[in-house]
Amino acid sequence: MAKILVACGTGICTSTMAVDRLKKELNARGKGNNITIVQCKVAEIPSKVNDVDLIVCTTQVSGNISKPVVSGLPFLTGVGVDKVIDEVIEKLGL
């Protein structure tokens, strides 16, 4: 079971948009099973990073994050969605 943490500044707005699109795109590729997606504020990443495999973030992340981080912007603008999904799949080894 792969776990993805989706973060944005407030943990309620752009991360919600990103979660929705991420789920849709992963399902469309038949990779939606066995994935858990959790959502949080970017400030909460350090306290949650150990429990997840990958972070999708719509805003800048500062500090050292021990897990791979991919940009969540494509899920908001629609530009580059395929590429970022490729990246998620590759980094999770799905």
Binding site: G9, I12, T14, T16, D20, Q60, L73, L76, T77, G78
Partner: protein, 154 residues
């Protein structure tokens, strides 16, 4: 009425906004929400501060947009305010603060539920990805024109 229809109100649209910078534009829209009792007084400073820490400018295939918002504790009821700028103003790009986006339309969201409003957010994303819709909104002159564009999607 769906959640997103309730959030969209014609009296929360500002046309021909003249703003000296992004903070000025955000303040004008936030004050509009405050004047209607939709947000608390603390919202105005909170949303400006948040824009500094987590910028919300988004480039789309056509015009630049921004989606300023802040924590639910500053909000009384969920609503969407729309601001059409006479001249674009520079916002920092979401996730890449070293880049700027010249923003023509601001969608300010007052979100009052921690994980709610998914429907509204989805609709907005849909609008950002439909060139024609965004251009129509940008060129609208009356609240009715915007309502008409949004009525199909929201």
């Amino acid at each position: 009425m769906t959640d997103s229809k309730k959030m969209f109100r014609e009296d929360l649209i500002l046309f021909n906004m003249e703003a000296k910078d992004n903070k000025d534009a955000i303040e004008q829209l936030a004050n509009k929400l405050l004047s209607k009792g939709i947000v608390k007084e603390s919202f105005v400073e909170a949303i400006k501060a948040r824009e500094d820490n987590y910028p919300t400018g988004l480039p789309t295939e056509t015009i630049g947009v921004a989606i300023p918002h802040t924590d639910a504790i500053h909000v009384n009821e969920g609503a969407l305010a729309i601001g059409l700028l006479k001249e674009p103003v520079a916002f920092q790009m979401m996730g890449m603060p070293e880049e700027t986006v010249n923003v023509s339309v601001i969608f300010m969201m007052a979100l009052n539920e921690a994980h709610g409003h998914l429907e509204m957010l989805q609709k907005l994303m849909g609008i950002f990805q439909e060139k024609e819709l965004l251009i129509k909104i940008n060129e609208a002159k009356t609240p009715e024109e915007i309502a008409e564009v949004l009525s199909d999607v929201i």
